[in-house]
Symmetry: C2
Subunit: 341 residues, 2 copies
């Protein structure tokens, strides 16, 4: 799976010229102008469009919850999956509002859903193992998760894929991935997740530090993913890699989704060319994780809900970027004078 | 025109309870939760809605352009109004995308448009006078502008009104209003507007400082508005006051729109309860102006285009706030466990 950089100086210059000819002061659409250029480069055109946007929400459970690292019981993972299927969660509301096709994937929830309409069953196992004691998953499980993710991304008809997740305990897995892949101290990677007390955050930090010591020789990206990750994170990373290879726009949500991208970017650095960063989460490590990727998030709304909610909320800005580029008049077409001073 | 504060402790508590019962970690929708509460208080309900949102774009010219304070020639004001009528401007694109009813008002453009379908003619005069030399308008003109604005706001069928503007030179007027109404030094009120050089910004600062000296005794809000403002700013202030009195949501755009609100808030402080601040502009004084009002802007996208574009781009977040409040399941209805730790 090779991902080509979007670098294309001629196209970049043509996009800049098209943007600068629109009837507005130079640069005055700020982040939307940078976004329009990025979308054009990804789609290899000066007239990018948003077609059939989708969000893949991957759910999985985490053995590390046995260490007391989450404010909510593990059952909340499957209960929230049921809530997704019943259209009652935040991501359902925002996806509906913004005409986003939502796909809910059981990547490894510790619950037997049976055959359920609307639920994509790609369960690897009933949750990962506790990485405080042993690797979260085998390399074979990790490879299967990546393959399932890739296949799901390949099946999407649209050109924009957002990513979301549900998994009690997964901010602990994501913080461990962040530490292992960026070297940022664990204390700066951990946060309150769904609402831990300061003591709980400290416990989470200690659990990750101890596990990092136990698995000290693990450094290769896929080994790190298998050792500390989750099935939802691995499947998401596989979907991201495939989506970028297919030149789709990747709409990146919050802390856990970005941790999956960290893994993917260590495997294929050019994947970052295909990413649009929806928001900066209030989960405390997210800002530093975004900085480590050189990412410019579109929204800062103190969100920390997960599920892909930030991605869903940011989609109208992608429409705005393509719409201004495709629909605005130019100085010439509108007979408006250009800058005089 | 009396504006009642939205203060209502019982309703505020009911809104908080409704938000906290939704299936999500406590507080995890961040700014959207604060927005949902504000919309509920404005509409006096725990189920606020967005109905027939509109944006009023007021256009006017400024005599102070004779001092060389703008990067574009004055003709761009009427040319951009023509562009609005031809659907070619950024505000047309974003209003269309987000289903916003757009009203373009000639408050005092220095151009004879004749009778034009789609243009609301409330012209006070062909531009203001040069406030470097004399008051921008008479008190009678200012009063007429306020009345026209109020009547336009009263005619809107919806419950959300966004504000936008077009007027070469109007960042100079807005910066002067900011200085007079907040006492923040002129050097921190002025910015590059549509693209002034640093020398141009300094010239703008000197023009305002000299004019403030010339009109030294002018301190009452309406006198400040008449002396330094613009017809589009005055008409906008009138529309804001009326819209808040009618308990509509005021969607505040960038630097010039916020300067109109500064005037309105000095007349009726409770108007601030009805405001949603769409974005923080890149025009350098806007952040301090927002801080002076205790405002929390929704978007930070480095926009500095005006026209109400920030307001149009923020509207989907208002929909998101009402939608999550009205459509999400509760922990009880979805049978999801609440926080355990």
């Amino acid at each position: 799976m090779r991902i080509a950089p979007t670098t294309n100086p001629d196209l970049a210059a043509a996009l800049t010229a098209a943007i600068n000819n629109k009837t507005k002061p130079l640069g005055s659409l700020g982040a939307l102008e940078r976004l329009a250029s990025r979308l054009g480069l990804i789609q290899d055109t000066v007239t990018p469009t948003i077609e059939k946007p989708a969000i893949l929400v991957f759910a999985g459970d985490h053995g590390v919850v046995a260490e007391g690292v989450s404010a909510y019981p593990q059952d909340v993972t499957w209960q929230m999956v049921e809530n997704f299927l019943a259209q009652g969660a935040a991501i359902n509301v925002f996806a509906r509002q913004n005409n986003i096709d939502l796909h809910v994937v059981d990547a490894g929830v510790n619950h037997d859903f049976g055959a359920r309409p609307g639920l994509v069953d790609r369960k690897i196992a009933n949750g990962t193992r506790n990485f405080a004691l042993e690797p979260a998953m085998t390399q074979a499980q990790c490879a299967t998760a990546l393959e399932h993710g890739a296949a799901l991304a390949a099946d999407l008809p649209g050109n924009v894929v957002g990513f979301g997740e549900m998994g009690i305990g997964n901010t602990t897995a994501a913080a461990a991935l962040m530490y292992k892949l960026t070297g940022i101290p664990v204390a700066e990677c951990v946060g309150a997740g769904t609402g831990l007390s300061p003591e709980g955050v400290l416990r989470k930090q200690r659990v990750i530090e101890a596990a990092a010591g136990r698995h000290a020789g693990v450094d290769a990206p896929l080994a790190v993913l298998a050792t500390f990750g989750g099935f939802e994170i691995a499947m998401m990373a596989g979907a991201m890699l495939k989506a970028a290879a297919l030149r789709k726009v990747l709409l990146i949500d919050g802390f856990i989704v970005t941790s999956a991208l960290l893994v993917a970017a260590r495997i294929e650095p050019a994947i970052l060319d295909y990413c649009v960063f929806a928001h900066c989460s209030d989960e405390s490590g997210h800002r530093r994780m975004l900085d480590a990727l050189g990412a410019e998030p579109l929204l800062q709304l103190n969100l920390r809900l997960g599920e892909g909610t930030g991605a869903a909320l940011a989609l109208p800005l992608l429409h705005a970027a393509t719409n201004f580029l495709n629909e605005m008049a130019t100085f010439e077409s509108a007979s408006v004078n250009e800058k005089s001073a």
